[in-house]
């Protein structure tokens, strides 16, 4: 090929422009400015600057990748570094153009976030000419360093990347959970060394450990396995000790795990895309509220939380069947839109004056009691955590058991091909309705806990965004995969709670995540084996895909790393 022997100037420029567009987007939507108050390293690097830094790293990475794709054999190292430098330079040149343009024209009339504060961040606080040159140089340097890192041998390159990646991770966790300001320079260095050193040590120790494990008897191996499980369980049980705010976040994550497991049955196992899932969540919450709140006068009998919980689950299951019957004959995208309509209908009904005497209309229902076990009232986030954990465990157990049962296999057969499944003797009506009912039950339980957690519910809490949120959780985690739901909930519900300044951009990032996942990794972060094989049908050999899957499962850190 002709391009093989010459340096391709156009690819790094293209990648730089792409990364520059991302930089422009995060600048003009206000993300950079909003996150500039949180420090990663105190006095040195703010979160906003880190975001910009990431676009430059992205540019460098893409520049090198593209250069490797363009050439058939590995290009000279200098070319790669040149590509990275150029891409990083172009990225920041886009931002420089923005600042220069913005200093002549007042962009703020159109773009609300094109504020002087943003220009100040972009010019590194140095003012217009000096700062802009600084920005360009910074882009070039970061691009070059990224390229350099990528040309190093694999082990040191990965160790450095892990160490660097750990710094913002730790800093964000620290500042979000313990109200710290960020890391000191020394702290950042220590964490970098821990990360990089840890990777090296792990690389040395892991093979040896495996050899030793293989040498153990089957019984001893079992013991080790059990020890791992026990350690995991202990960590999960002790998590609320982190404090009230982290428990609050975990509660929310737990609720989404509950709902995600339910939707996973409908979408993941049975292949029925349900966009109105929030309806069942709402029905569970409203059943709980109506049955327990003293505010509802038309129902004289008042139950406790535990008394009302079965009714909430039952009401949700019944509504799952009732809403499922009309859509039995529909497939694919029609089903999605109709269920979305159901979700909206339920919300609009809850909001209407018509039903106000029964369920409170726009005033909602308040005074929902907290659950009581013997002498203990579960009224703080840490105690509620255990309630949600117990609920999630039960639901996860059911989901795991159902998955490989006759019913679970019928769902999957139906997902693959309805006609063939029917021909094989699967009763489609019964199987579909059971999927809707099971999924709805889980959502109903989540709704009931949600109601008692907040003690008051309003129709506005049950909008379409919840459905989309749960859908994102299972898609990012991996459709059909049970551990995927937990990973997805941690990333998509836990992370945004920690990064409060991004609250406004949450849905923007969800949207981007959905598109990005579908384009690059439709099987999710923690994929289900069968799903992955299907989606990559015909690409590599199926055996290769399966092996890759096993490697991934054995190494969850790979999933975490690719999410960043």
């Amino acid at each position: 090929m002709k391009t093989g022997s010459r340096f391709n100037w156009w690819s790094p420029i293209k990648m730089g422009l792409l990364a520059g567009a991302v930089g422009l987007l995060i600048s003009l939507t206000g993300m950079v400015e909003a996150s500039n108050n949180r420090y990663i390293i105190i006095g040195v690097l703010s979160l906003g600057q880190t975001l910009l830094l990431l676009t430059m790293v992205f540019a460098g990475y893409m520049g090198v990748r593209q250069a490797r794709i363009d050439q058939h054999s590995e290009p000279p190292r200098l070319w790669l570094i040149l590509s990275g430098t150029l891409a990083g330079l172009i990225t920041n040149a886009v931002l420089v153009a923005l600042v220069i343009f913005g200093s002549f024209v007042n962009l703020r009339n159109i773009f609300v976030n094109a504020s002087p504060a943003l220009y100040d961040i972009l010019t590194l606080g140095l003012g217009v000419p000096a700062g802009l040159i600084g920005l360009l140089i910074a882009g070039a340097i970061v691009g070059a360093l990224t390229a350099l890192l990528m040309t190093l041998p694999e082990r040191p390159s990965r160790a450095i990347a892990l160490g660097l990646g750990l710094i913002p991770t730790v800093a964000i966790l620290y500042s979000a959970l313990f109200a710290g300001r960020g890391l000191s320079i020394l702290g950042a260095v220590v964490i970098f060394l821990l990360g990089a050193g840890g990777y090296y040590l792990w690389g040395t120790w892991q093979p040896r450990m495996e050899v030793r494990m293989a040498g153990l008897s089957a019984e001893q191996q079992h013991m080790v396995q059990r020890g791992k499980w026990a350690l995991g369980a202990l960590i999960i049980l002790l998590l609320p000790l982190l404090g009230s705010y982290p428990s609050e976040v975990l509660d929310l994550v737990g609720l989404f795990v509950l709902m995600g497991l339910g939707l996973n049955i409908v979408v993941g196992f049975a292949g029925l895309l349900d966009l109105g899932y929030v309806a069942f969540f709402a029905i569970g919450a409203y059943t709980m509220a109506v049955l327990t709140s003293p505010e509802i006068a038309w129902l004289p009998v008042k139950l406790t939380f535990w008394g009302a919980l079965p009714f909430a689950a039952l009401a949700a299951a019944l509504s799952g069947i009732i809403l499922g019957v009309p859509v039995l004959g529909m497939r694919g995208d029609y089903l999605a839109i109709v269920t979305l309509g159901f979700g909206e209908i339920i919300r609009l009904l809850a909001l209407s004056d018509w039903l106000k005497p029964f369920i409170g209309g726009s005033n909602g229902i308040t005074l929902i009691p907290k659950p009581v076990i013997g002498p203990i009232t579960l009224d703080t986030p840490p105690t509620l955590y255990y309630l949600i954990l117990a609920g999630s465990l039960v639901v996860a157990f059911v989901a795991i058991r159902v998955k490989d049962s006759r019913l679970g296999r019928s769902w999957m057969a139906m997902r693959e091909d309805e006609d063939v499944a029917q021909a094989m003797g699967i009763d489609l009506v019964r199987t579909k309705l059971l999927a809707f009912a099971t999924g709805a039950t889980f959502a109903g339980v989540a709704g009931a806990i949600f109601a008692t957690k907040l003690t008051s519910i309003y129709p506005h809490s049950f909008n379409l965004l919840i459905s989309i949120n749960v859908l994102c959780v299972i898609i990012v985690g991996g459709i059909g995969s049970i551990p995927g739901v937990i990973v997805g909930a941690l990333f998509l519900v836990g992370l945004p709670e920690l990064l409060r300044e991004f609250a406004e951009y949450r849905l923007m990032m969800y949207g981007a995540a959905l598109v990005f996942m579908m384009l690059t990794r439709p099987e999710g972060l923690w994929p289900e084996a069968r799903r992955k094989l299907e989606l990559h049908e015909g690409e590599p050999s199926p055996v290769g895909a399966l092996e890759e899957f096993e490697v991934r499962e054995a190494e969850p850190s790979a999933a975490g790393a690719s999410a960043e």
């Binding site: 497939r331 995208d333 309509g341 909001l351 018509w354 989309i468 949207g511």
Partner: protein, 353 residues
């Protein structure tokens, strides 16, 4: 005889028909009750109908975008509502600039033409980018994958626009000549509504002729029949698909400006509900069918405007307008259950594409 009947009709079908009959009975009862009460006069009904017609024209224009794309790619372009929003949202800055400089009232037709063209251009750009970045790589993927992508794109666009232009409601200026109303015989009609109805009808007819008569339109029809065969016949399928997005985007952008002029405001979220309703309209008319989308849009607009007062009021439901949006969804569900083919279309809801 009875045995033959029960064998044909399964339990669920029977259940569905019972529901259908019950709904019909309620509708008839509500209508009679309202009409008997004489709460609304003839003027109220004509007002509601004209309002519905204007709204329906806008739904029809958006619905065309859904229908064209569905016809060709067999996918629901969930982000089409955001394409509709993008045009008027960006054109807002032009129309306010025109308003402040007085150009809007000095040369209203020219100014509005520029605003329309700009909005259509922006919407078209977004639609084409969507196709290029998000949909094209997934053309051979399992069916739910592009739909999920479209949902993601929809939310991404909504909240990107919010981040770029702010979350507040922006009020759209209206040139003086479009304010006030005209009186034609016994009917008094708001000028802007009349303009919206006329503009929508012109665009709908124009599109119909484009699809039926021009070479590009015929190529679009061919591709929607069979992609592979049309490729063999020398049609550039990719460029036809892009053209489809261009046409749908331009119509949506123009419809967006009409909508903004009619309601005098824009927000980043304005595309979502109209988008869903336009999809309903497309299904109502028979998805994939151009004339059907137009009919479905007009029908939905009128139904939404007249129905709450006509039926729900008679049933004694307080504040029936609150359930206006729910009505569209109920209608969608009913159509998909009882006549999935829509008014004019072929049966697609259960068909495997």
């Amino acid at each position: 005889m009875l045995q033959r009947l029960t064998r044909r009709v399964s339990g669920t079908t029977l259940f569905m028909w019972l529901i259908g009959i019950a709904i019909l009975a309620v509708v008839v009862y509500g209508t009679i009750a309202t009409l008997a009460s004489g709460k609304y006069g003839l003027k109220d009904w004509t007002d509601l109908t004209i309002n519905g017609l204007a709204l329906g024209g806008i739904y029809a224009l958006i619905a065309l975008g859904y229908t064209l794309v569905y016809g060709i790619l067999r996918m629901i372009n969930f982000a089409h509502g955001e394409v509709f929003m993008a045009g008027p949202m960006t054109a807002y800055f032009i129309i306010t600039a025109f308003d402040e400089s007085g150009f809007l009232n000095r040369q209203p037709i020219l100014a509005l033409l520029i605003v329309f063209l700009f909005a259509a251009a922006v919407s078209t750009t977004i639609a084409v980018l969507l196709e290029r970045i998000a949909y094209r790589p997934l053309r051979r993927a399992p069916r739910l994958v592009p739909l999920i992508t479209a949902i993601g794109a929809s939310f991404f666009l909504q909240y990107t626009f919010r981040g770029l232009f702010g979350s507040g409601i922006k009020s759209y200026p209206l040139p003086d000549i479009l304010q006030g109303d005209w009186t034609v015989g016994p009917i008094t009609i708001l000028k802007i509504r009349a303009v919206v109805i006329v503009a929508a009808i012109i665009m709908l007819v124009g599109l119909y002729i484009f699809v039926q008569r021009t070479k590009v339109g015929k190529a679009m029809q061919a591709v929607s029949e069979d992609k592979d065969t049309s490729a063999l016949m020398g049609i550039d399928v990719d460029s036809v698909i892009v053209t489809t997005f261009v046409v749908g985007g331009a119509l949506a952008g123009a419809a967006g400006v009409l909508y903004a002029l009619m309601f005098r405001q824009v927000t980043f979220i304005m595309g979502f509900i109209p988008g869903l309703k336009a999809f309903t309209a497309a299904v109502l008319g028979g998805i994939g069918n151009v004339a059907g989308a137009a009919l479905g849009g007009l029908f939905l607009g009128i139904a939404e405007s007249v129905f709450p007062n006509l039926v729900l009021d008679g049933l004694g439901i307080p504040a029936p307008y609150q359930l206006r949006d729910a009505l569209a969804f109920v209608l969608l569900v009913l159509v998909l259950i009882f006549r999935p083919s829509g008014i004019l279309g072929e049966r697609l809801a259960a068909k495997k594409a």
